[in-house]
């Protein structure tokens, strides 16, 4: 009787642990996906600020006045109560390829949730050539457009 009881208890324990482990993995996966998506949205918000600043501010990015090729800034994002921190995005503008014939501005944006639970990185390129590269007399219809976009995942 004792042996039978121990055997049954062991089987029950194994079944319980297997079930709990499986459910835990599913919950972890779903949570990670959710947090990753939120971090991506933060990164996209950062990219949107770059796009709007490029659109509205002729002095942006302030690379030449500072004598630099790289310009970086970061902003914290709070919830509607203006107290709870949601996360932040960090924008890095790389002006090394603003020279002809490339004339592109590379932008790296890192979206990061509060407590660093998730981080997503995106890379974008803006066309900064006012004229066509092979025809200097013709205006570039994609001037200031985002011409490349790449989701670099969780780096």
């Amino acid at each position: 009787m004792l042996i039978a009881t121990l055997l049954i208890s062991t089987i029950l324990l194994i079944l319980g642990l297997a079930y709990l482990g499986r459910r835990a993995n599913q919950v972890k996966f779903a949570l990670a996906e959710q947090e990753s998506t939120r971090a991506l949205e933060l990164a996209l918000a950062g990219l949107e600020t770059v796009r709007v600043k490029l659109d509205k501010d002729p002095q942006f990015p302030p690379l030449e006045p500072l004598g630099r090729k790289i310009y970086s800034y970061s902003e914290f994002i709070y919830d509607l109560d203006e107290v709870s921190l949601i996360g932040r995005y960090e924008v890095t503008l790389d002006g090394q390829y603003l020279v002809p014939p490339y004339r592109i501005l590379r932008v790296k944006v890192v979206g990061e949730l509060a407590d660093e639970v998730a981080r997503r990185v995106i890379l974008a390129e803006f066309d900064m050539s006012p004229t066509l590269r092979h025809d200097a007399a013709t205006e570039n219809p994609r001037y200031f457009d985002m011409v490349n976009f790449q989701d670099m995942g969780s780096l």
């Binding site: 029950l12 890379l123 976009f149």
Partner: protein
């Protein structure tokens, strides 16, 4: 004098307790089998949703999109040549170049592009990547029965992914905003 064996009452009680334990065990086993089946179904659904997110992310990065159900064809920059920090072998020169106003360059040169094709093969969603020299195919998700993409009036792309869970077909849908011109 020491008594040997069990009384009839002890035997009956033991059998009753054993019956109760076996009944509980049987119930738990049945429940576990049902939950285990549910978990497999959840895994398929989660896998399909995750795959849909990946497809949408890739659509967002693509410069040419050809929705031809049951396939989806994309043309995009080769991520292997477009590192976060430019390095040797990337599409941009490394180290950073000196200005050369006379040189010619294209933002999306054909040599830097790859063709991506999503299609279904025997309930598997496959992703085929081809460049000028090689073609590689890998399975992305299991249990997928349908893939459909279509342009919406607002210029967004709608992507549907169907997954078979037991006898039912579930369709997950997402809409992708195209940021690239």
């Amino acid at each position: 004098m020491k008594r040997l064996g069990f009384t009839i009452f002890e035997t009956l009680l033991t059998l009753l307790l054993l019956q109760v334990v076996l009944a509980v065990l049987g119930g738990l086993l049945w429940e576990y089998s049902r939950i285990s089946q549910d978990s497999e179904q959840s895994d398929l659904a989660l896998g399909a949703q995750s795959t849909l997110l990946q497809i949408c992310a890739e659509v967002r990065e693509s410069i040419q999109i050809d929705p031809a159900p049951p396939e989806l064809k994309l043309v995009r920059l080769d991520p292997a040549k477009n590192s976060l920090s430019v390095k040797a072998g990337d599409r941009l020169p490394y180290p950073a170049p000196d200005p050369d106003p006379l040189a010619s360059w294209n933002v999306q040169q054909a040599i830097d592009l790859i063709n991506v094709r999503y299609y279904i093969d025997q309930d598997q969603l496959m992703r085929q990547v081809s460049d000028a020299t090689t073609t590689v195919q890998i399975p992305v998700s299991q249990g997928i029965t349908g893939l459909s993409a279509s342009w919406l009036a607002n210029g967004n792309l709608q992507v549907d992914l169907s997954v078979r869970i037991e006898t039912q077909i579930f369709t997950f849908r997402s809409e992708v905003f195209r940021g690239l011109p």
